[in-house]
Amino acid sequence: MERHEYDVVVIGAGGAGLRAAIEARQQGKRTAIICKSLFGKAHTVMAEGGAAAAMGNVNPDDNWMVHFRDTMRGGKFLNNWRMAELHAKEAPDRVWELEAWGALFDRTKDGKISQRNFGGHEYPRLAHVGDRTGLELIRTLQQRVVALQQEDEREHGDPEAFIKVFAECTVTRLLKDGDAISGAFGYWRETGDFIVFDAPAVVLATGGIGKSYVVTSNSWEYTGDGHALALLAGAKLINMEFIQFHPTGMVWPPSVRGILVTESVRGDGGVLRNSEGRRFMFDYVPDVFKDKYATTEEEGDRWYTDQANNRRPPELLPRDEVARAINAEVKAGRGSPQGGVFLDVSSRLPAAEIIKRLPSMHHQFKELADVDITQEPMQVGPTCHYIMGGVEVDADTGAASVPGLFAAGEVSGGMHGSNRLGGNSLSDLLVFGRRAGLGAAAYIDGLSARPAVAEVADAMAEAVAPLERTGGENPYEVHHELQRTMNDLVGIIRKAGEVAEALQVVEKLKERSKNTGSSGSRIYNPGWHLAIDLRNMLLVSECVARAALLREESRGGHTRDDFPGMSPEWRQKLLVCAAEPDASGVTVEEKVQPSMRGDLISLFERSELEKYLTEDELAEYDAAVKES
């Protein structure tokens, strides 16, 4: 069997994985990058709007403290505040660094990186390239990896001496020596041959779980691999009940339902209307945001040109608020003909400006839906977009509870609390990708010996099983039923009875998935690959449903019809998921979050905190303010 020895194995080659790998290699570690797709195709390419970083290029009043406050507000104060702090402080450096690696962002008049408005961000903050920022980011990181390989070729005669990409390769198990990580086991998609990595440190950067839902903006890769690998290796997941339904996905034609319509449409002036032509978002500004958003269309419109004297339009509320509002309008019978609402930029900007600022939206609607967005409104509705929950990690190093295991980007949890702001994902994966790479390198430096090489017989038997079952169940059908179940029963609005029902279905699907069979050979066999991925999707779906059933409040990406309010007591609590190595026995435990550091909590007004915190916490706040 093919066997490789590395210092750091990075699983996932999106923004977080590549940034982690670049850092590990720059720290002198021999690094492997493993990705399920070809190099440069990861889901990061689909990010459209931009990377949030308080550079202050457009509005000089912006700084890390404003960004930190916006992030905490967006996450309804459930965020890991240390992560939110590091993120806000380091994002500008991470964006500037990309420029030195060849990225070409759009510019301001004085030649700096331009920044655009986005939901929940007080100032224009997103570094962007039209509406294809994710592509720019991944290409830049990909080209940085190539640059390092060229350097290694000059120095060592081998471009892959210190950093190598294993493309179209899927990891199915992490390997351990005692309590600590010792490597990873997987298969080549192309040949079906097995491959083993012996390595003391593994960085998970596998992204999200959207493929457990029917209507999603996520690609096939988003099967929760890293979430599941971490659980099976003994690490913990937090915040799994919080899933972001992006308010604006395409609703028609059916085959593209869920594909993302960037928030930049609203950031650049687009408005949401119902079938009566009303800008309904004015009816949905929640109390916690009342004083920060415009109350009339005139004020909202003025804000685009004069932010000092006007409040922002409510179309730019955080995503969870907008998604729920659209959901409510459609339910009330005020939706568009194709079951969404209208998103109109055609009456707001000249056609040429729309094509310049939103080229890929223009292209996407024209090619896929026969809609010219410069002439008529789009029809949009919520789509499963991002999971806030993930591997519980140390904020500074990305280390999980299992020694040698690290996680960064969407697969990690905590940074975004109960809801992520648009633009905070691209900056998250740069900031914490780098930190996980550093963390892994430092961990290795502290080891006295490499871990023992692991046995892989069990992992092999597990992976090959679906091919050996003849006449088993069709994995595509099991997958589809899971997607329907999660969409209908653990979707944007949740009820105890429905979530409990979903858990029963998942239980049955777990049994069925153990019986799936895949015909054909081991060579590039998608039916076999899906049968293997099902284990991960089912495990992660169970975590989502169990946590959603326990959290009896509504906050961010978790809305309970039977518990519509936000509870200060629940804000203090995280739900922590664990599982057995055979993917059984998922448990969820409550854990109390540490209180925010005094200097950070003092950045907020008491009147705002009163909406979120318990009396005891407010007393702590008063003491902190007094001290400073």
Binding site: L104, Q149, S219, P254, L368, S518, P526
Partner: protein, 251 residues
Amino acid sequence: MGYKAKFRVWRGEGGEGQLEDFTVEVNEGEVVLDVIHRLQATQAPDLAVRWNCKAGKCGSCSMEINGRPRLGCMTRMSTFEESETITVTPMRTFPVIKDLVCDVSFNYQKAREIPSFTPPKDVKPGEYRMQQIDVERSQEFRKCIECFMCNNVCHVIRDHDENKPAFAGPRFLMRIAELDMHPYDEVDRKDAAQEEHGLGYCNITKCCTEVCPEHIKITDNALIPMKERVVDRKYDPLVWLGSKIFKRSSV
């Protein structure tokens, strides 16, 4: 408005294969990739195809549909007659691994042969100042989603494996142009473009531009200007000819 479509899909692995006939349901608004996925789910579970975003942003699902290089996710079924047989084959220029999946490692090899972005050493991150108009030229080329259909269609290598070692293909000649036009890149790339990456093989037939799903004007905006920069040092009759033929009509 669903109907049954006739599909002929290339199936095979290990250098052998044949077109296989399918009759498959098609629904309103679907694209070719949807139909391929339906074949996987209902008739051919091991049918191999690459795909990711399904929105024309990642460049994974390149294939040849009725002989034309296309992204499966951006080719709507409504562009065909219901009675038409739709033939789907893998890209021809690259070795087939299985069914619609090719070995595209040629492209990654070429990417590594082009010297990376090289900024001046004394400009620190955060100090870059560039005007929008100066970055737009390279930005156009950075729209590339690396579907590799331009390299697939380019006749220099489509039926001439022997040219592959000496020719980077439109994708990577465009990458050289992108870096050459980057306001902060310091490497002189002109000689290498011609001598090491085969710019001279290009005779500006514009096939690459025609198939580009991002509508990048590869020939007019990257390859011809690059040839013009090279011509300061070398005489290339095609540049002279191209400037007579193409420049005039594309004004």
